[in-house]
Structure formats: C-alpha cells, structure tokens
Amino acid sequence: MIQAVLIFNTHGKPRLSKFYTQSPPLMQQSLIAQIFSLISDRPAGVCNFLDAPDLVFPSSAGKGKEVRGDDDDIRVIYRHYATLYFVFVVDGAESELGILDLIQVFVESLDRAFENVCELDLIFHFDEVHHVLSEIIQGGLVLETNINEISACVQASARNRKASAASSNPLLPSMLTAPGAGRSGSRGGSADGPRRWLAAMGV
C-alpha cells in the first residue's frame, strides 16, 4: 500500500504531507527532511527511485503493524516537476512503474483542478490539494486512476462546497435579514422604506 504522499518544493518546504499509516508528527517531519535531503542531492537524469543506505523509515520502527519484517521493501518513488517534488512512499504491494504513472495522474488532476497548476496554487489551496488527493487515494489504497473520473469527482465536490458555502454565508443572509427581523414585518418594512424616505425629504 501507499504509506505516504508528500509534496515539497526544491527548498524542502512541505506543500502537502499525507501519511496513511500512523506515525507521530515529529517522525513525519524528520522523514520529510531526510527524504528531501537525499532527493535534492540527486543529479538530474537519474532514476526516480530513491534507494539510499542512510534512509531509515522512522514510521516502520514506530508502528510495527504494517511492517512484517520479511521484506523491508519500502520504496521512495518521486518525480520532479518544476519547483516541486512529488514523493510517494510505498511498500512492495505497489508496482514501481505503476506508481510513477500514478504520480503523473495526480499531477494532471491537480492541473485540471487548478488550471495550469503552479506551486502557489498548492500553497494557497492546501485544502483543495487534499481534496484532489482524496479522490485518487483513500487510506493508502488507490481509489481511481482514470483522470476523467477523478476530475469529475473533484468538480462535483467543489460544486457541493460552493453551494453549501453560499447557502450558509454568514455575511450575506444574516447581515441583511437580521435588521429586517428586528423591524417587525420585514416585507412591509422594506416596502414602505422608500416612501418614508420620500416623506422625510418632504415630498
């Protein structure tokens, strides 16, 4: 299964971190830092699999549930897009090349969701990135790999959010209705408002 999905930029600043196994936050951050320092050292044109002797997975020491001991085949698979690294930490159940394709799918989905995605989009729409990811991976298992289906789901979810937010916007309805409710009979009140105003002007 997929143990973690990470996005960080070329300076090691995390833009998204999603761990599908339980591990303490400090371990997560140290893992991110470790992976970043190893990946950033790698020259261009080398393979997309991070395999380094000094890479230790704090998560594997911490939980013991997933780790079965017989194969320590936890792999770090990453792709580099512009200023961002997309990193998947997976175990032996996943196909290495398949995950590479999946990263591509993830990036394309983000691209569709944000229309020409760039790092700033990910920075300022932290939640949106999570929503997109949740349409692709759920609980460490791949939910969907078809980009069309993914972006349809993302769009549907975004529409729902918009609708829900619009109906409950604290500013618009409450600001308008609250004073109206204060004056008894808002309909009539609003109707004779102009008249009163005109009267006040002496017309």
């Binding site: 998204l16 599908y20 002797p53 079965r68 932290f126 298992l141 979810s157």
Partner: protein, 928 residues
C-alpha cells in the same frame, strides 16, 4: 475582530519569513492565539477555518495541536454544512491519536453521514474512515455492518470507497473478515471497473498480510480479470497478486502461463510488462523442470537484460531490471552471469539507487571464479578518489588504478566518498562476499588477508569489528595462511604509527590493529623479528589507544616475550644474557605506565605482567653466566617451590620459561558448526532435571510433588553418585519422604505429636548413628564450595538450638497457648523439621524409616507449630523448602484423614502412599 482566513495566514507567514526568524515566530504565536479563540468560539465557520489553519501549521512546523483540538474537530465534523464537514473529516486523521473518547463521540455522526440519502455525503466520512478504523477497533466493530451495507450502494463511487474501507476495518476487527469476505468477493464482479480495481487492491493487501492461502478460491475471478480487463493498473495488481498465489498452488502456473506470456508479448505498457516478468520470476513459473519454464526464463532475462543495456534509455528501467535480476539468480544464475559486465558497470553509475541495486545483485552473483574481479572492483570504489602516497598497500593502489580506468571514475569516486553510509554498506558487502558460506567461494586466503587489510586501510568507516572477526576466523581456520598473515600484519600494520593514529578515531582501523596485535601474539614463531614486534606493539603512543587494544597489546607482548625468551634459552650465552636483560627492561618500561591506567582490565594485566617481569628480571640478574653452570634461582625468595627442586639446573635462567606455558598449554581450534549436537549426552545425565527442586525456592505443591517423585526414583537408581547437588537433592527428598512416612504412618490427626515424641524418644543408637552421619557428611561438604551449612554443622547440637530460640520468639509473638506452654517440648519437637532431616538423612533410609512408623500418634497442634516456626526462620534456603513441605503435608494429611488407613508395611507403603497422595491432590484440583 479581524478574522484571518487560511490564505491570510499563509500570506502573513510568507511576508514575515522574508524579514526574520523572530518576526516569523512572533507572527506564528499571534496566529496561534487567534486560532485558539476561533476554535473556542461559537461560529462554526470560524471554527472550521481555525481547524484548517491548525492543520496547515502542523504540516509545516512541529507544533502540537492545542488542547481540545480533537473536540473541535468533532464539532466541525458534525456540522450539517457540506464544506465545513469536509474540513472536519480532512482534519480528523491529524487530530485523533489512539482510541480516545473523541472517537467515541464521532460514531453516531459518522453513521448518519454514511447512511445519508444525499449522494455527496457518504464519501466524506469514507475518506477519513481508514485512518479512524485502523486506530480504533471499537469503531471498526460498530461500523462494520454499515460498511457492508454500503458495498451494495447504487453509486459506484461510494461502493469503491466502501470497499477500500474494509481493509483497515478488518485489520482492527478481524472477526469481520469472515462475515464480509463473501461480500468482498462479489465486488470482484462488479459492473464498475473502479470498484473491481479497488477490490483487487484490497484482496492484494489482505493476501500480503495473511499469506495467500485464504485467497486461492478467488483465482477464477482474478483470472477472469486478467484475461478480460484492459485497465493496466488493475492488471498490474492482479499480476502481482498472482505472484503471491502461485507459490501456494503450483497448478495455477500452467493456467497462468498463456495469458501472461500473451501479455508479455502484446502489451505496450512497460510497467505491466515488467510486472509480468517479475511475477514469472517470483511466482516460481520458471521452474527449470518444465520445458516452457526454461524458455520463459530466457525471455524474461532477455527483457531485463535489454533494459539493463539500454544506455541512453530510461534509468528507471535499469533500476528495476537490477531489482528483478536479484530474484532470478537463485534459479538461473548462469543466465544472469551473461550480463555480468553490465551489472559491474552499473556499480559505477552516478546514481546511488542503481549502485545499491547493482551491489546487491553483484553480491549474489559471486562465485569462485569471478570473486577476485568483483572484490577488486568493490575495493576500487572504496579507495579514496585521490590515491596519494598514503596508500601503503600495493593491492589497494592497484585496485585504485583499476578503478581509474572505468568510464566515470571521478564522479563515481567523489560522490561515493561523500556518503559514509554507502561506504559502510560497500565495506560490509565486501566482507560479506568473502565470508559467505564459510568462505566457500574464496580461491586464495592470502589474497583474503590482503583484501581485508586494504579494506581497513581505505574504508574510513566503522567496519573494524567485522574485519577483526573475519581475520581472526580465517587465521584460526587456515593454518597455511598464518605465516603470510603474521608477516604482513607485522610489517604493515603493527609498525605503522600513522595507521595507529587513524585508528583512534573509532573507524575501521582499530579493529584491524587489534586483530593484528592478537595474531602476532598468538603465532610468534612466524614473526620475522620478535624483538621489534614487541617494541612496536608497546609503541610509545599506545596509551592513546582504546583500553581493549591496550590490554590486547599487553597480552600479546607477554606472549611474544615468552616465546622469545624460550627461544633464547636454546642458545644461551653472555650476549643473550645482556640482550634478554635489556629486553626485560624495555618491556617493563613499556608496561609500567599502564599500572595506573583508568581502565581496570588494562590495569590488572599490566600489574600481572609487571610482577612476572620483575621476577624474571631478578632471576636473570642473579643468574651467573652459563659457563659456571651454577643454579641461579636460589636467591629468589618466595618462589622457591617450583625452581629449587633440582640441584643441577640447566645453563640458562629457568625463568625464561616462565611465560610461555602460560599461553601455549592449550591450542584453540575452530569448533565445527553443529559440533555440539554430535556430543553424546553421558549415560544417566538428565539435563532437564532441576538440580534443586523448585529452583531453591518454595513452589506450588503440585510442582513440588513432581520433583519429589522424580528425585525419589532417582535416589533408587543412582545411589550415592552425582556430587553435591545430588546430595542436596537426595537430602531434601528423603526428608520429605521421611516426613511423609511419619505422617502416613500415623493417622493424620495426630502427626504433630508424633514428631515431638520422635524427638524425645530418639534412642542412643540413633543418636550415635546420627553423629556418625553428620561427620561423614561434613567431610563431604568440606570440598563443596556450594555447601552452605558448614558453619552450623560445626556446632554440635545446632540442629536444635537456633530453631528453639527463634521458635520461642516467634511463639511469644503468636500467642498460641499450646505451643507457648510447651516450649521445652518444642525443642524436641522442632528438630524433625529442617535440621533433623539434614542430619539424619541416611544412605540406608530404610532403617530410619523402619524406626519411624511406630511413632504414629501425633497432634495437629504440633504441625501448626512447625509451620509457624518455619515461616519465622526462612532465612536459609533449606528452611524455605521445608516450609513448603510442611504446607504440603498439611494439605495431604487433611486429605488423607479420610481415605488413608494406617500403613501395612514400611517400604511398600511409601510407594503406595505416594500414588494415593498424588491422586488425592488431583482430586483437590478438580474440586476447586
């Protein structure tokens, strides 16, 4: 109040980051305060925003969530608004940890959302559920029916999410698997491909966790997917799943071969192709017994080799080709060997990942013929990029030169030297290759020794311990290499002051130095010059080294010294005399600084060595030159015992032979693997038997009995043998037995009294006999270091005295009228407990036994007194035991009161009773 959205927060952070760290921290602190307010407030939208901001900050900084964060998240999760609820579920995995009460609070909300008629609702909880379920078994238990229900939801989007939730659910609630398995199986034939894909993923994970056995029945469905689907992701999963299943069911192989070979030849997706190849390898489809297996193997290896060769192509393919080749080696080593060149080239790749894989592959490719070249290449990697004059070994510079000839020398070497972890791995692999399967691939051991020295010289990582172990092992096992090794080590290592210095930094050199020092000391006959070896071992900078090296050096110096002096004796002359004198003086001066070393082991060795040297020195200095052949030893006081025996001594000082026997009287040989198993267990030795029943402590009755009966049997078998431990055993044994008999001989009620009488009634012969036995026993015990009763036994009547005293005190405390009043009788009463048994335990137990049965009428009060007594003086182990026994007797007797008649004959009675007693015990157990 101004409310900051997430965007504002991020903007603020970015703005302040530019200025300074302090400003950023201040801003962060301010934001945290605001957030805490927002979280506490009533406004749900603000609260959700606060939760979101908190999550963002937790991703970036190592800050703990504010107290009660989880509760706020629960509130947000329960909001009826879609967009707020979504934020709540998004934050849930970050907020909850373990099975806390917050999780319990969420149950109803989650259930409601799962069952919501609104299509958009169920996915929200389903995204967060995997995490929550894996954390909380109770939640998994509660929600399991709802998840099963969702498996048949009308929307495929919800169905596939529900399928994926089953895995964590069953992980924390395994009983659910039995109930839900058939439902999961149905999903394999769902009309929606996404649902099928998700199901395959779940089955895959389940099979990985449980082993494939349970999932073999799914083979038909999976086979259907394999032949019918065109979704690559799903095909990959299915193919990988079959790699788990086929080893369990070989018949599957024949069924799978056609579709898989079909996929291999037809697919355009390399990922799928690779997975097919990998499944063929891992799934055991390349069985060389089968004709098509061999062909398939050829196809697979060629595909992989193609990836490997593809220079300008995809690095990823090279990586996975190496990955897969490792798996194919065990069955088809010769096919992989064809690509040895490419693999070795990959060792030079600038990419660490590829190098790592290549290293692993190379390690498994090694055989007798290519070992040298492979090891040389690895050595070349270890060699420092700039091969300067500091490389003392010809082999190493040779290797470095060879490395210089490889295509990408500089980049390789430099990037290599950058990562110590890789160097460590490389060095360890190198050593592993050599040591593999007890050196079965090694062509030449002299070469091994030189390689090991090279590794120590150039690795610059901490492999010292490994090098030391393997070097000592090789030297110990291979006699023919000793001479060479000693020569090289003496030459290159021990005398190399610079090397010694490097070793002090705790890298690989120190281990080699220790090994060298030990080896030179152990085989001094191969040293070219023992004198210079001693002086380089006791180098003036030795005090800077680690304590273990120092103590080794002292020991080795002593060994070489011993060897040398013994040698010198054969040609003793005036020159020799002065030379040896100087040697002693120099060794002494080398050793003496360590007398006050902080490490205790060093100190001890130095002190011992120095004393011996003092003696030798005195001996030599008083030794009159050989022409006169006068015994020179007589002036040494205190040691005359060994040296003054003969009047006409040899022409050299005898103390020349003082050292050598200390070290060479036994040769240490390597012990063969499993040698211990060959050793026969001597007749009559039972390794499982406890030496002291109950391990010296009181035990539960039942166990005690088992011991007892075992030991009793053994007494019959073994008689007097077995040493002190056995003696002890037998004693305890008999004591019990005797007691037993006493008790049984009487009607249970009256036993205590019987003891009293027994004490009083003791006849003169009995006493005599007792004294005699005691004396004999004392004599035996004298030699036994483990015997604890000695002192007491010295006092004549100790049996009684201490106990009586203790008894009195005890009794006074316990206010038991009977015993108190009869304290004088008690005296007689008590001996039967521990002491008497000890003293009286006879070789001829039967005589004692026969004397006992008559004293049959006892009172229970006596037993009670004994108990107290023993409890009060449990300081000695024997009493402990006794206490136990009394207890046990107590129980037995009560039992026996009903069902045991008085005994008929002495010896037989014992056996009969024992049986009955045990059955009685069992009854008790059953009843209770």
């Amino acid at each position: 109040m101004f409310e900051r959205t997430l965007q504002d927060l991020i903007r603020g952070l970015r703005a302040h980051k530019a200025s300074s760290k302090a400003a950023e921290d201040a801003f962060l602190a301010e934001a945290m305060v605001e957030m805490r307010e927002e979280l506490k407030g009533k406004d749900m939208a603000l609260k959700a925003e606060g939760v979101l901001k908190m999550c963002y900050l937790m991703m970036l900084y190592p800050i703990p969530p504010p107290p009660g964060f989880a509760f706020h998240v629960v509130e947000v999760m329960s909001s009826p608004r879609y967009h707020l609820k979504q934020l709540g579920y998004l934050a849930a995995p970050m907020a909850f940890s373990g099975e806390t009460e917050e999780v319990v609070l969420t149950v109803n909300g989650i259930k409601k959302d799962l069952m919501s008629p609104h299509l958009a609702m169920p996915p929200l909880p389903l995204t967060a559920l995997p995490y929550l379920l894996s954390m909380s078994p109770s939640l998994a238990n509660t929600l399991h029916p709802d998840l099963l229900h969702l498996l048949t939801h009308s929307s495929p989007r919800i169905r596939k999410r529900a399928v994926l939730c089953l895995l964590p659910c069953w992980e924390s609630y395994p009983e659910g698997l039995r109930e839900g398995f058939s439902r999961l199986r149905e999903r394999l034939q769902d009309e929606d491909q996404g649902v099928v894909g998700a199901t395959v993923g779940v089955v895959m994970e389940l099979a990985r966790r449980q082993g494939g056995k349970n999932y073999l029945p799914l083979a038909p469905e999976l086979f259907g997917i394999l032949t019918g689907s065109s979704n690559n992701w799903m095909l990959i999963k299915v193919v990988k799943l079959f790699a788990i299943l086929t080893p369990l069911e070989p018949r599957l192989v024949r069924k799978l071969l056609p579709p898989i070979t079909n996929l291999i030849s037809s697919t355009s997706a390399i990922s799928l192709l690779y997975e097919c190849v990998r499944t063929c390898i891992v799934g055991g489809m390349l069985d060389p017994d089968r004709a098509e297996g061999e062909v398939l193997a050829r196809v697979c290896v060629e595909k992989l080799g193609g990836y490997l060769r593809d220079e300008g192509g995809d690095q990823n393919l090279r990586y996975i080709a190496l990955l897969a080749m490792v798996k194919i080696i065990p069955t088809h080593p010769q096919m992989v060997a064809e690509y040895q060149e490419e693999v070795l080239q990959s060792l030079d790749d600038p990419d660490v990942s590829i190098r790592m894989r290549a290293l692993e592959l190379v390690t498994s490719m090694v055989d007798q013929y290519n070992m040298r070249s492979i090891v040389d290449q690895l050595l070349a990697h270890l060699a420092p990029p700039t091969k300067g004059s500091s490389l003392p070994s010809a082999m190493a510079s040779l290797a470095a030169a060879a490395g210089g000839g490889s295509p990408t020398p500089t980049t390789t070497a430099q990037s290599l030297s950058l990562t110590p972890a890789y160097r460590l791995l490389l060095a360890q692999r190198l050593i592993g290759i050599i040591a593999h399967d007890t050196y079965s691939n090694v062509p030449d051991f002299e070469w091994v020794v030189s390689v090991l020295i090279d590794v120590a010289y150039i690795s610059q990582v901490d492999v010292g311990a490994e090098i030391k172990d393997i070097l000592l092992d090789v030297i110990g096992r291979v006699r023919s290499v000793r001479e060479y090794a000693v020569g090289v080590l003496e030459d290159k290592v021990i005398g190399d002051e610079e090397f010694r210095e490097r070793g002090r930094e705790g890298t690989g050199e120190d281990g080699l130095m220790e090994a060298a020092v030990w080896i030179c000391g152990e085989y001094p006959s191969d040293l070219s010059s023992p004198l210079s070896a001693i002086s380089s071992i006791l180098s003036p900078t030795l005090h800077l080294s680690s304590p273990s090296l120092i103590s080794l050096s002292l020991q080795s110096a002593a060994k070489i010294f011993g060897y040398h002096t013994a040698e010198a004796s054969t040609s003793w002359s005036v020159d020799r005399h002065t030379e040896t004198k100087n040697l002693v003086a120099s060794v002494k001066s080398g050793v003496s600084p360590f007398i006050s070393h902080s490490d205790i082991e060093v100190q001890e060795r130095a002190a011992e060595l120095l004393q011996l040297l003092n003696f030798v020195e005195a001996d030599i200095s008083t030794h009159v030159p050989p022409i006169k052949t006068v015994n020179g030893d007589d002036t040494v006081p205190g040691l005359e015992g060994g040296f003054e025996a003969e009047s006409s001594g040899p022409p050299y000082p005898k103390s020349l032979f003082l050292f050598q026997p200390l070290f060479t009287s036994h040769e240490l040989n390597a012990v063969a693997y499993r040698a211990q198993e060959v050793v026969q267990i001597p007749e009559g030795l039972d390794l499982d038997r406890e030496i002291i029943p109950g391990g010296g402590f009181g035990e539960i009755d039942v166990e005690e009995e088992v011991d007892e009966s075992e030991v009793e049997k053994e007494k019959l078998d073994l008689g007097e043998g077995g040493g002190a431990g056995m003696e002890e055993l037998r004693k305890v044994l008999r004591e019990q037995e005797e007691r037993e008999r006493n008790g049984k001989g009487k009607s249970g009620r009256k036993k205590g009294k019987g003891k009293k009488i027994e004490g009083e009634v003791m006849s003169v012969e009995e006493k005599e006999e007792r004294a005699k036995r005691k004396a004999a026993k004392k004599a035996r015990a004298k030699d036994d270091p483990y015997y604890l009763y000695d002192e007491k036994a010295d006092v004549d009547d100790v049996d009684d005295i201490p106990i009586v005293r203790l008894d009195d005190v005890d009794l006074a405390n316990t206010e038991e009228p009977q015993t108190k009043t009869k304290s004088s009788r008690k005296k007689a009463d008590l001996p039967p407990s521990p002491q008497i048994d000890r003293g009286e335990l006879p070789e001829g137990a039967s005589t004692v036994l026969s004397s006992r049965p008559p004293n049959t009428d006892r009172v229970l009060s006596g037993l009670a007194a004994v108990d107290l007594n023993d409890a009060s003086c449990t300081h000695s182990a024997s009493r402990f035991e006794e206490y136990q026994l009394d207890d046990e007797k107590d129980g037995e007797q009560e039992l026996r009161v009903g069902d045991l008649p008085t005994p008929v004959g002495e010896i037989q009675v014992v056996r009969v009773k024992r049986k009955k007693k045990t059955t009685g015990k069992k009854k008790i157990v059953e009843e209770s």
